[in-house]
Amino acid sequence: MELELRGITKRFPGVVANDDVNLHVRGGEVLALVGENGAGKSTLMNVLYGLYKADEGEILIDGVPQHFTSPRDAIAAGIGMVHQHFMLVPVFTVAENVVMGVEPTTLGGIKLDLATAREQVRTISEQYGMHLDPDALIEDMPVGLQQRVEIIKVLFRHAEIVVFDEPTAVLTPQEIDDFFVIVESLKADGKGIVFITHKLREAIKVADRIEVLRRGKTVGDSDPKTVKDTELAEMMVGRPVDLVVSKEQHEPGAVVLSLRDFTVRDPSGRLLVDHLNLEVRAGEIVGIAGVQGNGQTELIDALVGLRRVSDGTALLEGQDITTANPRDIHHHGVAHIPEDRQREGIVKDFDITENLALTGYYKPPLSKGVSIDWKAAHTRAEHLVEQFDIRTPSVDTGVGTLSGGNQQKVIVARELSRDLKLAIACQPTRGIDVGSIEYIHERIVALRNAGVAVLVVSTELDEVMALADRVVVMYRGRMVADLPRASTTHNEVGLYMAGAKESAA
């Protein structure tokens, strides 16, 4: 079977997620689709799987145009998808998860024939060397095995083309090796594989062809046997064209934030942040680069008191803040621009005045005794709207009705408009317009020039490279690189991000 995507274009308001994308994959072939976060990989796959409708272009199977309106159509056409977030019912067994929707039955389609289901699952499992117990409960299984259940689900429905969306993101190195063995056996069986990833080393290792996607466009088709990972990184990241932040040299001052053996674990004891040592000085911007999900979120959450620190210490100007709560941290002169604006940063039902009071409402000048001085809050809000160039009809406007850029400016205004020692900005410009990006970047540089220590976390490499004085790379919870901006390059950092390289950081 041969799958071809021809001229796929998908637009969202304000963005072109896929721009004239062409792809094809044959049975018995592994195609790696690589690209940064936000390059349009997921959109493309959702188009293929019938979840989105493309604005232009067509999907062909063996040369015949297809019209997918739902995943059901895609499944029927022989396309299977292993989602990054598994679609498994945790309290069901392997066999139950696999057969759901196409259950073998007896008694005229009423009674579930679990014996047959088990046998079928066992057969497929053995055929591809997956060693799954059909009666095991999903919630008791490690992630690597859960992924195999997803694969069996796809095979059970006779998929000829299997799409893996970031399949290795949640796996341990050992599980990744096992996964590649399975991919090989699928390939040997004549299945076509689309392997979506941003990990170049893995793409080179497993793929027969590599397609690079950048800002919604296919920018190159390479042969993994000949291509170098540095070349791929350059194709993937592109050159830092449109992000220029003007900033003059600035000598960092004393150490403001100091992390020693800073460690965070999830409730089951898994390491999320692995003995991290980091110092941030006054008048310095430290950029934390890394692919989403390598411990950056947990690091910051633990630092600002939203998550428990398992081990190690955090010192702010020599003062221990390891166990401080968010209110204390705020009190100590730390600003926190949260990663997920909608979830944590704003309250959508509140107006601008209320949102601007969110972290300072409890003390003067915003409060008097047990009540809030809304008049003062209102005046301050009007002042901040002016100062931070928030485009809104009035400060009584609901924040939910503002554009993403203006919502972010509300957060920035709230967090940066006071005396600070340390500013932490997570994904400060995710999903906002260019004008707002420039403005927020200027603000961050101005803070640094004023002698504030700044920590910027971003999965956009361009952003980190544009802002930082020092670039730190996180990979699997560890800090794998600590590089002065002046003496590093996009490609070098990209390799660290992809786990292709590790310095003795």
């Binding site: 008191g305 939203l306 709560n325 968010p326 209110r327 204390d328 941290i329 705020h330 926190h336 949260p338 979830r343 944590e344 940063g345 704003i346 309250v347 959508k348 039902d349 509140f350 107006d351 209320e354 009071a357 969110l358 972290t359 409402y361 409890y362 409060s367 047990v370 009540s371 809030i372 809304w374 809104t392 009809p393 009035s394 009584d396 406007t397 609901g398 939910g400 009705t401 503002l402």
Partner: protein, 403 residues
Amino acid sequence: MTAATVDGNPAPSGPERSSPPKLIAFFDRMDAYNNVLLPLLAIVSALIVGALIIGVTDIDRIKDGDIGGILSTIKDAYLALPSGALGSLRGISETIVSATPLILAGLCFAVAARSGLFNIGATGQMFAGGMAAVWVGFSMNGPGIIQVPLALLAGIIAGGIWGGIVGLLKARTGAHEVITTIMTNYIAGLLTLWLLKTEAFQQPGKDNPISKTVSNEGRLPKLFFWNDDPSQPLRAHWGFLVALGGAVFMWWLFERSKIGFELRTFGSNADAARYAGMKPATLTTLAMFIAGGLAGLGGASQIIGTNFNATESFAGSIGFDAIAVALLGRNKPTGIVFAALLFGILEAGGRKMQLETDVPLDVVLVLRALIVLFIAAPALTKLIWRLKSEGSTSVLQFRGWGA
């Protein structure tokens, strides 16, 4: 919320767009669409469906094919409602008597709802408050100026603790408040029944569970104090003022106070509250304490203002009706006062309707339920009235049974 929603906040009706801009601005500011138009349409829809139900069940006239008779019954019934409730001082007084506990219990639901909690425990919290108040009421014989506030305070504290337990359970163990409040309602009912049979509470010489009577000093003064016609007693009492005070308190709590701001933030976006350094466990307990306190106050004012002694059913269906009141009032204090008065009108007017027509008082229950339906399902109401859809905020979202 305001002018920023440019995609056509459909002002009350289309052709009036050219009316003075000041008026539009005024309607915009009070969010007239959601707070005035929608409730009005809900009431009208409910009255229409209610009329159908009255008509269809008029078996005798249907048998006779007496359509005109049916229509005039409906007309008489619906005219009796406002005239019974508002046509006389007596009617107004009865309307107020019915509305008073509904206001406080409605505030109880709304305070919790705006803090993100589904408190259906107003009944139990009223029992707790009422029993505390009745005990103060019959066991003390001091001057009213001390005894009445003391009874009300006892009601607030007892109701607050009864609600606070639910909040504490939720904060500490995640026990879902819908279940725990249903259970604490029954427990409160049974405890009340038991207390009413104990020597400490039971009226001497009675076999049935009924408490001793609140001393004359310990009663809330009458609202229409100038009325001294014994043949026409006007039962409305200062509990109404207390309830209005409760509404003002809720307004102050959510619009002015720090704690209210925290509760509101927690109710709208718990993650943002945590991020901003607020303490969810404390807020959950506190929200339920305040809510319970308001319902307890409602129970207390019912006892020392209207009933003067406690029975096993003094909280009656008020706790559940209050949910409807709060929904109709969109969880806002002013809305709740108006909604409770409307329910009071239905109740007081319903009695006249029952006397003058053959339509039973129970039709009021049907009307209330229908009003709740049309309020809770704005999309349905809009569909019926062919209005353009506009994002209207949902009152509250159930968050699963919790793990």
